[in-house]
């Protein structure tokens, strides 16, 4: 078995004086600079508050939403799977009996504390009946008070899925 | 460029370039310590040969006007001192070879530093200008500081180096202050010119020159470890590695005296008497206090260090006599330097040879019964001790004879008596060693390092030289004896006054 000597890179004189590499690097950056200077429109930066992002995909994990059945009632059956799966323990559910007979239980209270949520998507995975989702497309959630970050059931239900609306 | 003038500095150039070459070679791991010793030896030897070439030839004085504008001078005086310094270095290398090889921690830069310090010392002897002299002094001292602390795993070494450095720098400041004051007084720092200016100033106010000269003397007294500045000596000598101690004791003093004699004899000659009383006190104190220090020591190395203070006192006796009997006194300084150089180099060298293998033999007690184990070494050590004590038949005796004669000649009989008193005290601590070596049964017999290598040979040669310097004469034609040394010393002294 012959020994194969692999030549190390960067040992040639040209490499060792570094200057060519430095200059080529600087040439690259200069090219970028000049191009962007001559025409700022090449820059893809959004002027954010005025311009909104238009490339949020459906797989983007935005703020949660609770889906509804066709009848408009909440799909959630208060099985606590999401709350159990949640690593941040930010989901609080209180169940109550469902009297309309469609199902056994429904949530009395369903609150998500966004200040604790880590947006892992575990709840979505855990949900057996596709009741909780994160495809609302809402990427910025701003509030003035701490209390405003507690998403109640009503708010969650009011978030519309972006599905179909974008792209 | 005047090549002929430059050629007078050939020994200096050889040593300087040798130092640089060794420095450049030192990172090469392949070259062994022995090789380095050998190389150093060769450089010094070549320089010595160059120097000896001028030894007889150059009864002249070259201020080297064309190349360095009187900053350096080359005359038989400097050639003589060069020869002393170089032989000192040569002997140090030869004697220390065993030590260096045994104590492997000596990195190779050591030899470069060693050559640099020799270079500085030689330069000091050649210096013809105060600041040049100071730089030369600093080159020599800085290398010595480092050499002292070279084995920095040993705290004692580093501390010795530190003490030496602080005090040495302080004394350097005084040297500079002295130069500044002299410059203020006469407007020049070139040696011959200072003399002329001082001559012209005679009768006017020369207090600046006097104070400046005093400060120069302070430095000088410090470096030769005379009385008020002697405290460092013992600790530094003790802390330094033995060959370095030998080198310091034997050669550095030579170089310092080489310079200070030049300035005192030539330039500050008209005002030298001013310091006589001061010197009187200093010498007395140096002799007595040095003797006291030597008596109370228990380590041999420290004793030798302390006794070097006493020897400084002897030399100063001759130094103070210069005013009246310039020729014989100054040549006696030179001669005593040779004597002390040989004896102390022999003693330190031998001890370094003995201690190279183990750390045991450092105190007097360790030498108990030494003669029964190593008769030859004990005999040599005894010879050196006798020479240091100034017993007849050794070069130390002739040196003392010379110095005391000069002192009496100059009318300083009291000083001679003090010197004799110190000698008398010195008998105690030198003979104590001999007594210990011979008169006791040896404690342990097992460690008998064989006499091998070049160091014992060289030490034996020194021992022979010590004896020959005490009895050798013109019986044997063409072989230099005492007269030769005295004559050359005189010659070198005379060359100072060639205008």
């Amino acid at each position: 078995m012959g020994i194969k000597i692999i030549k190390r890179e960067g040992q040639s004189f040209k490499d060792r004086i570094y200057l060519p590499a430095i200059f080529s690097g600087m040439w690259v950056t200069l090219k970028h600079f000049l191009r962007n200077l001559s025409d700022t429109s090449n820059i893809k930066t959004l002027c954010y508050p005025e311009e909104q992002p238009i490339d949020i995909t459906s797989r983007y994990r935005g703020v949660h939403l609770l889906t509804k059945r066709d009848d408009g009632s909440v799909r959630c059956v208060a099985c606590f799977m999401c709350a159990t799966a949640c690593p941040a323990e930010c989901i609080f559910i209180e169940a109550k009996e469902r009297e309309d007979g469609v199902d056994e239980k429904m949530p009395e209270i369903f609150t998500i504390d966004l200040l604790e949520c880590v947006f892992c998507g575990g709840c979505v995975e855990a949900c057996p009946c596709d009741a909780i989702r994160m495809d609302s497309g809402i990427f910025s959630f701003v509030a003035q008070k701490r209390e405003d970050f507690l998403l109640t059931k009503d708010k969650l239900l009011s978030h519309e899925s972006m599905k179909g609306t974008i792209c | 460029m005047n090549w002929v003038e430059l050629s007078y500095l050939l020994p200096l150039i050889v040593i300087g370039s040798g130092a640089v070459i060794l420095m450049l070679l030192s990172p090469i791991e392949k070259i062994s310590m022995e090789r380095f010793s050998l190389l150093t030896f060769i450089f010094i030897f070549v320089a010595l040969l160059c120097d000896l070439y001028y030894f007889g030839v150059l009864y002249t004085s070259f201020p080297l006007k064309h190349i360095f504008s009187k900053m350096l001078i080359s005359d038989s005086y400097s050639v003589y001192f060069d020869a002393l310094l170089l032989s000192g270095a040569l002997v140090t290398i030869l004697v220390g070879m065993h030590y260096f090889q045994t104590k492997r921690k000596f990195k190779k830069e050591f030899f470069s530093l060693f050559l640099f310090s020799v270079f500085g010392m030689m330069l000091l002897v050649h210096a013809n200008e105060l600041l040049t002299a100071f730089i030369a002094l600093e080159i020599a001292s800085l290398s010595l500081y480092v050499m002292v602390g070279f084995q920095k795993y040993d705290t004692r070494r580093v501390e010795a180096s530190y003490q030496y450095l602080v005090l040495g720098s302080l004394s350097g400041v005084f040297f500079l202050l002295g130069s500044a004051l002299i410059y203020a007084g006469v407007g020049t720092t070139i040696l011959g010119d200072i003399g002329k200016e001082v001559d012209m100033l005679m009768g006017k106010d020369i207090s600046l020159v006097v104070i400046g000269g005093t400060f120069l003397l302070v430095t000088f007294l410090f470096k030769i470890s005379a009385f008020p500045f002697q405290n460092w000596t013992i600790d530094v000598y003790d802390g330094a590695p033995l060959p370095v101690t030998a080198f310091m004791a034997a050669t550095f003093k030579v170089a310092i005296f080489g310079f200070i004699l030049r300035i005192m004899l030539v330039d500050l000659d008209p005002i030298r008497e001013i310091w006589d009383e001061l010197f009187f006190v200093i010498i007395t104190a140096t002799l007595l206090y040095g003797s006291f220090l030597a008596v109370i020591q228990r380590s041999l190395k420290r004793m030798l260090a302390a006794s070097s203070i006493v020897h400084t006192g002897y030399i100063l006796i001759a130094f103070v006599s210069i005013g009246v009997v310039g020729e014989s006194a100054s040549s006696s300084v030179i001669y005593y330097l040779v004597a002390y150089f040989l004896s102390s180099m022999g003693a330190f060298g031998l001890i370094s040879y003995i201690t190279a293998d183990d750390h045991v033999r450092v105190t007097y007690e360790d030498f108990r019964g030494f003669a029964h184990v190593h008769p030859y070494m004990a005999a040599m050590l005894s010879i050196f001790m006798l020479s240091l004590a100034g017993l007849p038949g050794t070069i130390g005796f002739v040196g003392k004879f010379y110095i005391f004669t000069g002192a009496i000649e100059a009318g300083n009989t009291i000083l001679a008596v003090f010197g004799v008193t110190a000698t008398f005290i010195s008998i105690y601590y030198y003979f104590k060693l001999i007594a210990l070596m011979y008169f006791y049964p040896t404690a342990e017999m097992e460690d008998i390092p064989p006499l091998k290598g070049i160091a014992p040979l060289v030490i034996g040669f020194i021992a022979f030289a010590v004896i020959w310097g005490g009895i050798g004469n013109t019986f044997v034609a063409y072989f230099p004896g005492i007269d030769f040394l005295i004559d050359t010393a005189r010659l070198s002294y005379m060359s100072l006054f060639i205008k």
Partner: protein
Amino acid sequence: MMDIGILSIIIFLPMVVALILLLTPINQNGTRNMAFIVSVIIFCLALFIYTNFQLTGTIQLREFHPWIKAYGINYSLGIDGFSLIVLMLIATLIPSAYLLLWNNNRPKNYWISMLFIQSGISGTLFSLDLILFYFFWEAMLLPVFMIIGLFGSGNRVYSTLKVTIYTIMGSLFMFVSILYLGVAFYYEFGSWSFELSDLVQITTISHGHRVLLFLGFMLAFSIKIPLFPFHTWLLETYSNSPTGGVFLLSSIMAKLGAYALVRFMIPLFPDIFVELSSVFVGLGIFGLVYFGIAAISQHNIKKMFAYSSASHLGFITAGIFSLNVHGMMGSAFLIVAHAMATGGLFLLVGVLERNLGIRSIDGMGGIAAKAPLFTVFFGIMVLCTVGIPGTNGFVAELLIVLGLFKYNAFAGILSALTVLVAASYMFWLFQKAILANSENDVSAMVDLDWKEVLGLLPLSLLIIAMGIYPDLFLYKIEPTIQHYLMEILHVGAKV
């Protein structure tokens, strides 16, 4: 090449032999034999000199070679009558001593040191250059140092250091004085010389300085002799030294001190010599009395002899300083007589010590019965020491007492009385230690063998011969003594 004179041979032969012995692996018996042979050769040479010596007061057999030219230091030798007699003494004593030390079973170094000492002694004796004299004076010391330190007993190292330091202290002041003389000569005559004959001519030194110089020399000699206040090294050194060392110290080196006193002090400082004579006579007589009394109270035989020896040396000193031909002759004679007697005694004590292993007088007794030969020789030496008529000791002491009477009647009486004191303790010793029977066990005592007898015989014969017919020996030194006296009287007249 230089030509080597007979004096140089006497000086350097032992040294060269010693060096050869030192460097060759000859065993101790060989060394001893060689040392003996050398001493015999030297004896023969000395005899040769003795017979060829001319009866003038001048210095003979001069040898002169420049040594350190720059300072006019020369290798300059010569002898006069006084040195001749000391030379003869040494040449005789040393072979005898070797014979008596023969059985002591000493190692090689011992004999080598002895050889070195002999060199040093001869050198000191012959030197006419003061630096050369100083050289040998100090060189003599080292082997003594070695002998005592190596082969001594008791607290030998201490006593070695003590005696060395003492002696060197004295000689260092002498050294300064020598240098001062040399410098004075240089200032007066413009050239360097340390030759005795040159230094004598110095006239410029002031009187006070001359006194100081004189004292500088005297310090060295007094310590060596030892005179009264400088004797403190004596007791320990004598008692701790081996027999050979004591022998050398007491019978030879101490005498050299007295010799040097005459040789150098009188020519160099005749006026001071006269002036201070009273002091030294006083010191000498005081020593005589003091040491005599001290000797009585001793029970260690060595110590007793040490004091006795010191006492006699005080006597010698007093004689030298008595400033007349009797005293000086007597001193010269006593130097010889006492050297023989004391030397013999110390050697015999050595034999005693070797056999019995003790030194205390109380532990001896009844030796006469065991060792008759020993007793005979011991008796002769004791008689000589005491100064019984028929021995040379008597002649010498008589001459000195006479001289002292001339100098000062009181001094003479005192010295004469003290001689009696010496007689008393010596006889007491002889009686108690040797003759009287006692219950002490002296069975270990062995009588002298033929070699020891051979060694002591010449001494005893000489003691008796010199006692009976002193002129035979005195005539050789008389011119010299006259010469010295002339110098003194010359100056004395001026004073």
